[in-house]
Amino acid sequence: MKRNISLPPDLQKTWEEIEEYAKGYGLDFFPIIFEVLDYKTLYEVAALGGFPIRYPHWRFGMEYHQLSKGYTYGLSVIYEMVINTDPSYAYLLEGNEMVTQKMVMAHVSAHVDFFKNNMWFAHTNRKMLDEMANHATRIQRLINRYGHEAVEDFIDVCLSLDNLIDYHAPYIKRPGAKTEVPIAGGEDEPPTVEGLKVNRSYMQNYINPPEFLEQQRQKLIEEQDKVRHFPENPQKDILLFLMNYAPLERWQHTILEIIRDEAYYYAPQGMTKIMNEGWASYWHSRIMTERAMTDSEVISFADHHAGVVSTSPGRLNPYKLGLELLRDIEERWDKGKFGKEYEECDDIQAKRNWDRQLGLGRQKLFEVRQLYNDITFIDEFLTPEFIEQQMLFSFEYNSYNNLYEIASREFETIKEKLLFQLTNFGQPYISVENGNHNNRGELYLKHRHEGIDLKLDYANDTMHNLHIIWTRPIHLETVIDEAPHLLTYDGNEFRKQKV
């Protein structure tokens, strides 16, 4: 797709203006190429995850169906979309009024600043536009060769596993696997123990007493087991593990790799949703209210902005939470409301009126945008005062009346719940423990249970999909109703047993 379509002159002028404001505030972004799209094209690109070319798959059709239905029935509007590439591409909806376009441009420039500077994005492929197109070409080639059904079915299988990646993997250097061959070749000979060297045969029983020999033998067996047992340490990047060890055809390997690549590309955006949206909202609000907006645009801007940060009881709006928390940080660092002296102050009144005139807020904000992700962000900056002010609460399901109810307004509880939701994207922690379980090449997975059970029917179906790739029985250790269970799928049937 040719992407050098320039903006209409009026929008181009507006962008130059906004760009200057944004840079004036210290935002540092990749070049941004804006494109004005009609709603059909915009929704198409949105359905394709922001990229104009993706491989064929029904789920993009489903996304498009939902998005365009939402638009047709007036339920939702996409104002803006931007992708993490260098240069960045951002899309504007044709026919939006100028104030909306301005706001979107300001919003987008902050997003791109975040992509460029936040450390969690450091490892993402900034040429993803090309990469996605390559993926599309490769999969199209596979389709031509192996048929639509086969390829799509296998993509479905891989997608079912695409959350089994290690979100921190790009930042950790791990030792390579020591065993390359999954199942040790050759016959398993019982280990023979030589014992220490004995020159005189009558000394044998003294130098190598039977207990000692037995001990040595055990040691050998253990070592052998270790070799058979792989990976040596539990591995969270199950997709990588499958790529390395599963008996895949070449084309299947290609598909799995593509799905994994794309999952890793999108991962940082999931890890920083609250911060990223908060950051963008913070800046569109400042740029608009302090610089870009004309008097006649106030009402429209206020209306749009209110829409962006609106809240509803059952759902947390990441735009709102991020924005408010960033503002809170700015105020605290401007006034010096941090550190030992402030923390240990008992006088509520003094705390409220605390102002050391430090003016460090802006600097702190830029530091936060560089170093934090949602988890560390919430962990470090959420305060009891903030929770009270923002009226946050935690809710729980009450099975007696089939209702979700407000469970607590306590700081600790809410923070814990929030962090839990964010940890691992609110996905269960599952790792490969053993690729040669029972010494029969069976896959043994472990779910690190943290209080919430897996959705069992989904787990079964996912194991079914794993089996398609691994071809040997799949085990999953988990906890159901507070009792440890082992789920097994052997290719024919599921078993659930207590352990």
Binding site: K40, E44, A47, L48, I53, P56, W58, R59, G61, M62, Y64, H65, Q66, L67, Y73, E152, D156, S160, L161, N163, L164, K273, T311, S312, P313, G314, R315, L316, N317, K320, L321, D374, Q390, L392, F393, F395, Y397, N398, S399, N401, L403, Y404, E405, I406, A407, R409, K417, L418, Q421, L422, F425, G426, Q427, I430, I452, D453, K455, L456, Y458, T462
Partner: protein, 368 residues
Amino acid sequence: MQRVQRDLNRFRQIVRGQIKKNLRKYMSQGEMIGRQGKRLVSIPLPQIDIPRFRFGSKQAGGVGQGEGEVGDPIARGDPQEGEGQAGSEPGEHIIEVDITLEELAQILGEELELPRIEPKGSKKNIVSEKAKYTRIRRVGPDSLRHFKRTYKEALRRQISSGLYDPHNPVIIPIHDDVRYRSWKETPVPESNAIIIYMMDVSGSMGREQKDLVRNTAFWIETWLRSQYKQIEIRYIVHDAAAKEVDKETFYHIREGGGTRISSAYKLCDKIINERYPPTDWNIYPFHFSDGDNWGDGDTEICLKLLETELLPKSNLFCYGQVRSMYGSGSFLYELQQHFEDDDLLATSEIARHEDIYDAIKSFLGKGK
């Protein structure tokens, strides 16, 4: 063609069950009925959820924002509601929207690809008045003033009274000249319909089953209302005996005892014969039961009644079998066996909420 069109077509094929049937089990229709009051409904959007390792949602809870005391309810316990996950994908939740019933029917028709219903026969007895602006009056609002007639009147008056000057043809209408458009009511034959709901209220039908029936009935009514000018609805409940009840009773009555389906069919037939002659009415009997009929030859009586009386009189007879905690009976099977290819009978099994979609489609998809 749009690039995404290819994916969209593929998705539609999956939804219709034409390809990749294994995926259909992950399909959800979203909640289709309104939550608060009749007017708030959500639009059915088919979604396919690829299975992944994920948490069962009910234990999870989450964090929200807003007013309320500890213990206040914030959402109903639907599995998809109120997960409140920060950073959750768009489209994961049900979309709710204010919408009128007419719009809803239209959307329903589009989504389910329901054909328009062709009313049967001549409905000469049922007429409604339709207004057409074909008459002229001397009084009326200015917005309906008939310029041409007014001009003619004024011209006629001026000529007859000698005020008309051909060299200076100025026509000045006075009050008496002004004419207004007016309407005339013409009788138009209308097709009207009667829905007769019959429900098994024997001991084996629980609250859940009735919920299924109510939801299905809501959608049937919504659709039929969009197709007919006027709809009358009658309600019959039955266990071993049948009686006619009002709507409130229909959905809330709880009877015990056994099931004799023929009792309901007899009553239904009686109502039709007495009040709704098939020559004048489009008749839609719907029967919901768990299919567990008494075994003393009652099923044969039902089949006979259907064959000789009810089916010939109805536009379409629909039977929906819900699954109760005691399983479901064989009545559905008997019907399907007996009326294998009969176009006038539509049957469907409604075991869960998701089945309502299919049920409506099989009931109303025939265009009868």
